[in-house]
């Protein structure tokens, strides 16, 4: 089996670059083909990159609190562009303020994300989920 391609990026007007660099290094190390769009990535940039590289998953980060606004509609746009079955993961400090994680998870699952992660997500575990869930 070929190494699955994943698209990484920090959505919206968000400049937090440290976690993004860590994610790139980590997932490359785990054998994924990583396409890292860096910080301040718009929804269409994510989608274009995913189409161009035939990616199996998009990993969206949001740290700065505007995640709720920035992520709305991403799933619909993916479907519009023919990315019917692409995996959508999202993680970071997704909402403004300290909030019980269940609430955050529910909110983002409703928006169409397959998995939602807190800042202290176990990355090994995330890699395992990805391996299991990407379409061959």
């Amino acid at each position: 089996m070929q190494n699955p391609t994943i698209v990484l990026g920090v959505i919206g007007a968000d400049c937090h670059s440290v976690g993004n660099k860590i994610l790139e290094i980590f997932f490359s190390g785990e054998g994924f083909k990583v396409v890292n769009l860096g910080v301040m990535v718009s929804q269409s940039e994510f989608i274009d990159a995913a189409i161009e590289t035939s990616a199996s998953a998009i990993l969206v980060s949001s740290l700065y609190g505007h995640g709720e606004i920035d992520c709305q509609g991403l799933r619909d746009r993916c479907i519009e562009k023919g990315l019917d079955s692409i995996l959508l993961y999202v993680g970071g400090n997704l909402v403004v303020g300290k909030t019980p994680f269940d609430e955050v998870e529910e909110k983002f699952k409703e928006m169409g994300f397959d998995r939602v992660f807190p800042p202290d997500a176990d990355l090994k575990q995330v890699a395992a989920f990805l391996q299991a869930e990407v379409q061959p």
Binding site: A13, S17, V18, M40, H66, V96, K98
Partner: protein, 482 residues
């Protein structure tokens, strides 16, 4: 080509026209009105004055970060930090859309926040609220207030907030681009910040001193001091050239106390060197220290310790200002309660340590010797009383008050000794009771206490002891008179 040269007024004015039309609220800004408004602000609310005073008095001022979407909520937040949190200086942290000049998205954020009944923005969208909205904020508080953001092109933000009475403006052409933006050319951001600095210079020339603060910590993540120092000094030079006169250079805690103290010391000395070498002499330089700017522990107890450790370093390094984190740091924008907790925890440390000097091996050795000397005095007497037997000697010593525990409840304790702190917070003896301390040591204790008495302008007295007992729970180490 980009030059470190004062922007000429004709050029400034032509840029200015454009700047003010970038969003509708820009048209409210009229400089003459702004100057009039600023001149009416009392000195107690001027940020530059506060920083200068801190420098003259050797104080460390506390400032939190805080900003929410709506004017009323933002005021409530700031008032809480002012009263409950006892902040010395107030912030207005700007939201991330405004920082990118995305005023339409900010407008949507305001609407959604109203609808949700909670702030969905990570800061205060000052441009959208315009001069009137910002003035409502400035007028509602009683402490000097600063704009804190992360905006590569902050020209309109500066126009609006300075016209609204803010007296300090954070940022710089390097420090608010490189860590905050992805695609803004550095040349562009430096130019745009020369504009902001020139605007501050105009206020200065009209008799209004506005404080400027380059953002020292940069990415907040493992930045060695010499890198951020160099950038800070450059931003200082750029600002001075445009007529800025009150400048606060920043540094983010690196974690090793030695390096951090050396960093604060060197930043101050270097900046003066470079500023003077560039021909500047008429300026006020102050230093701000940022508590740990990298990733925080999620556990609040642990976060408190990170906050505490930053405060300890500040207490020894003596910057004029410390920017305070909160126990929610790792989780999200703090509640106002958490924000006040960060201030209280910081205050406790800064106050507890305020009288302590940087220690070194030599003075510790000296104190070690003193203690050894005192113990020998007592022990010799105990053994003498017990004729060589320590147990018997102890009983006799307590009877004689040679051993005497302050505040002990036992009737077998003489209770005659009264300790008190000296001027640096060392515990010394005020009333020796029957302790067999020799004259050399007693005279030394006495002289230490006289230092304190002099510093406090009062006699050595039992009141000092009472004051010392309450001190730590009141956030001090030494119980000074009010």
């Amino acid at each position: 080509m980009l030059k470190n040269k004062k922007i000429e007024m004709t050029e400034f004015n032509s840029i200015r026209k454009e700047v003010l039309t970038a969003w509708p609220t820009g048209k409210d800004v009229r400089l003459e009105d702004a100057f009039r408004y600023q001149r009416a602000i009392p000195a107690a609310k001027n940020f530059a004055v506060a920083m200068k005073n801190a420098l003259d008095r050797g104080q460390i001022l506390l400032q939190p970060r805080a900003g929410v979407a709506l004017v009323d909520e933002h005021i409530k937040l700031l008032k809480h930090l002012e009263t409950e949190g006892e902040a010395d200086l107030l912030p207005t942290t700007i939201d991330a859309y405004t920082r990118q000049n995305r005023y339409e998205e900010a407008a949507r954020g305001i609407e959604k926040s109203i609808a949700a009944g909670a702030s969905l923005l990570n800061g205060f969208p000052a441009v959208n609220h315009g001069v009137p909205g910002c003035r409502t904020v400035v007028e509602a508080v009683s402490k000097p207030i600063q704009v804190r953001h992360g905006t590569p092109d902050a020209r309109l933000l500066a126009e609006i907030t300075l016209a609204a009475g803010f007296t300090s403006f954070e940022g710089g052409g390097i420090s608010y681009n490189i860590p905050y933006a992805k695609k803004v050319p550095l040349e562009q951001s430096i130019r745009d910040w020369q504009y902001a600095d020139r605007l501050v210079g105009l206020y200065e020339e009209n008799g209004i001193r506005i404080n400027r603060e380059p953002f020292g910590p940069l990415t907040g993540t493992l930045v060695p001091p010499f890198i951020s120092h160099t950038i800070g000094i450059i931003e200082g030079l750029l600002a001075l050239e445009q007529g800025v006169r009150s400048i606060t250079l920043g540094y983010g805690q690196a974690g090793n106390i030695l390096q951090d103290i050396a960093a604060i010391t060197s930043l101050r000395e270097l900046a003066h060197d470079y500023f003077r070498a560039a021909g500047h002499s008429d300026y006020e330089l102050t230093i701000v220290f940022h508590q740990w700017m990298g990733g925080f522990p999620e556990d609040e107890a642990k976060a408190f310790s990170v906050i505490g450790w930053g405060s300890v370093v500040a207490a020894f390094a003596k910057p004029e200002k410390i920017i305070v984190k909160t126990p929610h740091e790792a989780m999200g924008i703090p509640t106002r309660a958490a924000n006040a907790q960060g201030l209280k925890a910081t205050r406790q440390i800064i106050s507890m340590l305020t009288d302590q000097r940087l220690f070194d091996a030599l003075s510790i050795r000296q104190e070690v010797d003193v203690i050894k000397h005192e113990v020998k005095n007592l022990m010799d007497k105990v053994l003498e009383l017990g004729r060589g037997d320590v147990a018997a000697g102890t009983v006799a010593a307590f009877q004689a008050g040679v051993l005497d525990v302050p505040f002990a409840p036992s009737i077998y304790n003489a209770g005659k000794v009264m300790p008190v702190r000296d001027n640096e917070g060392f515990l010394r003896i005020f009333q020796k009771g029957n302790l067999p301390l020799d004259n050399e040591i007693l005279a030394w204790h006495r002289s230490k206490l006289l230092d304190r008495a002099r510093a406090e302008g009062r006699e050595i007295s039992f009141q000092m002891v009472t004051d010392d007992i309450y001190a730590i729970s009141k956030g001090k180490l030494i119980g000074r008179p009010k």
